[in-house]
Symmetry: C2
Subunit: 453 residues, 2 copies
């Protein structure tokens, strides 16, 4: 073991932040004026604007539009050191984290913001056939599968197999699933229309499979209804109350109110389950918490001020935190796993660290709910926005889509990204074309095909 | 074996084009008004603007800026069918090509435009340590290595190893090598400056290693001289008369006028050798040509009208063709392997097919030489342009760079690409920033690092 942290001796408080997602980034930014040494550790070299990741998966945007190198974002914040690395252990009594190469990074305050990934509810063998969407690599994988399915269909002489290549299924009708299904239908009906000579891409089927009884279950039922109507009008085959019980290379087996059915398809996207980062369990062990401190999805229960029980120097924020919101009314509400809550937790944890350093008291976390929004496709979205002093405002259709567009472009990091994304969308809107349809690694397409010789 | 070509019965002449590079694309476009059935077969789903590939490798541009889906380019040309596939055999007597899955595509006329790849002169084990640059996948591989080298250096506590991570070598000082070395120096000195806390990226060394006695050997010596001066002023360590004799994980062994030297470095880019596609040799065998018909780099000798000896129905164009230019003066000149020559050969082969179909005579190939140009970095380039009725005009520096920019953006396919590339460059020029620095797959960075625990 080596201790490179000691190479840069410092008497300033050392703050380690694990994860450069929305929570970690906001925490570091909130500490920009503090007289501290911050180390941000992430397994990737970039901060990812995850709400638009489905656009990379569906060839609408390129990675630089929705991702920026983490160290670039902190170039003008001298108190931040960015490390590309993976935390493999946390030692809560020695107050240090251990990286994958044995490097030990000591902290006075630790913020764990390592987020979540997709979960197959214990059926990890499904991953091979139904990739999920959490990283840029996932997005490229899905893009490759979707675009190559049409290429396979064009070259297939057997009609049944061709149909299979032209059947796409998205599992899970949360915002990501709805966005994926809507955009995939658009690709088949518009983007690729007229480019193939042996198949008609418009005949492709896109199924959206949901175990619950409606799409967008987190939204009010009226908006779920509107979203489903918009999906159907885009040509998506919406299948609610379809519980997935098996996935393999031939397709999906579902349970529809007690009756088993088989859906034959080649291309499947998993947008159903979420599991917190394994650092949740690791941290619980490191802090000698009991088993009940981690919920079924791996999230770690935190104190009202987002710290870990018995460890006021450790905070957990974002999707990894099973946090509660302490409303002014005295009510205690659960906090949803969305990007605004991660950012707010990041800021709250940073503020509490500063308060502790100053010998003051920490604040409880209060989630400011701005509402929910999801887009469905060209010109369609559903919005449930919370207007202060007024309450929920719900709308859908073109105006909702413009609102969605404005919010997403506004929150994108960096002026250039916003400009490029707007241009890409204006172009896509005017031409129906999607600019990022290049598949890297298709040199291997041939060798991966079944050889029939 | 199946014959899906017979699924679409047609009495029109069938033209098969292997490869959707500059040669194949131009040939298909030149046949857009012909009453023929064209099948374009390529191993990737995109046409690649290779002269700007080094910009993807150096994080300046994203793939959609320099690559477009082949079938999108032919969407409005109904006589073209695009197939994503790999030709594994050519049967010249049965007049058909065989794809990797056994599919047989029959032709009346065949254009082979499968291009070239990099060659390690029989030392294929060097590829692992010194990747070449021919495909988008290659470009991503190089981008990942270059950017991660700085990340490794930032985390390295041993000074000698850190130095090694901060030493970059480009082998081969043709246009690609010069462009790569110049841009890598720019990245170290400007783009990344100030983003690291433990290292100073400006201290990175970029070596350009060339066996010959000057950079850009295809250019006139005066421009080689100017290019070398510009490289040196960018901070590139130019090493001419350095012949590479060995490459491994520790670095490069070179022979400098009989004396062996070792260059210790971690990141190496191979821009030295080129080998023609294996379809050259395959075609020579299929047409029963003797061994001398294929040169040392695998290029196939063609007749004056670009057809294969004894097979007037087969043409070879682009980097795969060992062609000659029949000048008006009666002189016979070799044809260089550059994109203008590939495009001109593609058009010539298409015209000759139409002439044969009409029962007329074919034309000999005449290469129209517009000159050569190469860029070195920000504001630097060398240009040797041929002005009709006037001769060679040679210049370098800012004006040459603007000329280079204009030519490359002009020839980029598709209006949107040009606009995005110009914007990206304007942005990069104004800010020194490079927008495409996101590395996909860095999740694996950690597990690939040597574990020291």
């Amino acid at each position: 073991m080596q201790n490179t942290a000691s190479n840069t001796p410092s008497k300033r408080p050392r703050i380690v932040i694990i994860g450069a997602g929305f929570g970690g980034l906001e925490a570091a930014k909130a500490l920009r004026k503090a007289d501290v040494d911050i180390t941000v550790i992430d397994r990737t070299n970039h901060h990812l604007f995850q709400p638009l990741l489905y656009q990379v998966a569906t060839a609408g945007l390129s990675p630089p539009s929705i991702a920026a190198p983490t160290r670039f974002l902190f170039r003008s914040q001298p108190n931040v050191t960015t490390l590309l690395g993976e935390v493999v252990d946390i030692n809560a009594s020695a107050r240090c984290v251990v990286l994958e190469n044995g490097e030990v990074v000591a902290y006075d305050h630790l913020i764990v913001a390592s987020g979540a990934t997709h979960s197959y509810f214990g059926n990890d063998q499904w991953a091979e056939h139904a990739p999920g969407l959490k990283t840029l690599e996932d997005a490229f994988n899905i893009r490759r599968r979707v675009l190559l399915a049409f290429e396979h269909a064009e070259r297939e002489s057997d009609e049944a197999t061709r149909e299979r290549w032209l059947t796409f299924a998205v599992i899970g009708a949360g915002p990501t699933g709805v966005e994926m299904a809507g955009t995939m239908a658009e690709i088949a009906k518009h983007t690729l229309a007229g480019e193939f000579r042996r198949i008609d891409s418009r005949r492709a089927r896109v199924l959206l499979i949901e175990a619950g009884d409606r799409v967008l279950p987190a939204f009010p039922p009226s908006l779920s209804q509107r979203a489903e109507e918009q999906l159907v009008s885009l040509g998506v085959d919406v299948r609610t109350s379809h519980k997935v019980i098996h996935i393999d290379a031939d397709g999906i087996r579902v349970d529809v109110k007690g009756v088993e059915q088989t859906i034959v398809c080649k291309t499947i996207v998993w947008a159903a389950g979420v599991a917190a980062s394994p650092l949740g369990k690791l941290l619980a062990r490191a802090c000698s918490l009991d088993e009940a401190s981690v919920d079924r999805t791996g999230r770690l229960k935190v104190e009202p001020d987002l710290t870990v029980l018995g460890h006021p120097e450790i905070s957990v924020v974002g999707d990894l935190a099973l946090a509660q919101s302490f409303e002014k009314s005295g009510e205690i509400k659960p906090v949803p796993c969305v990007s605004p809550s991660a950012k707010q937790m990041g800021r709250c944890a940073a503020k509490n660290i500063l308060a502790r350093m100053a010998g003051g008291k920490t604040d409880v976390f209060r989630y400011m709910d701005y509402g929910l929004l999801a887009t469905i496709g060209r010109k369609s979205a559903v919005v449930d926005v919370v207007v202060p002093l007024f309450g929920h405002v719900r709308f859908s259709g073109l105006f909702a889509w413009l609102f969605w567009l404005f919010v997403h472009v506004y929150f994108l990091i960096g002026f250039r990204n916003r400009m490029i994304v707007l241009m890409d969308w204006a172009w896509a809107y005017g031409t129906f074309n999607r600019t990022a349809r290049v598949v890297v690694g298709t040199e291997k397409f041939a060798s991966k095909s079944e050889r029939k010789l």
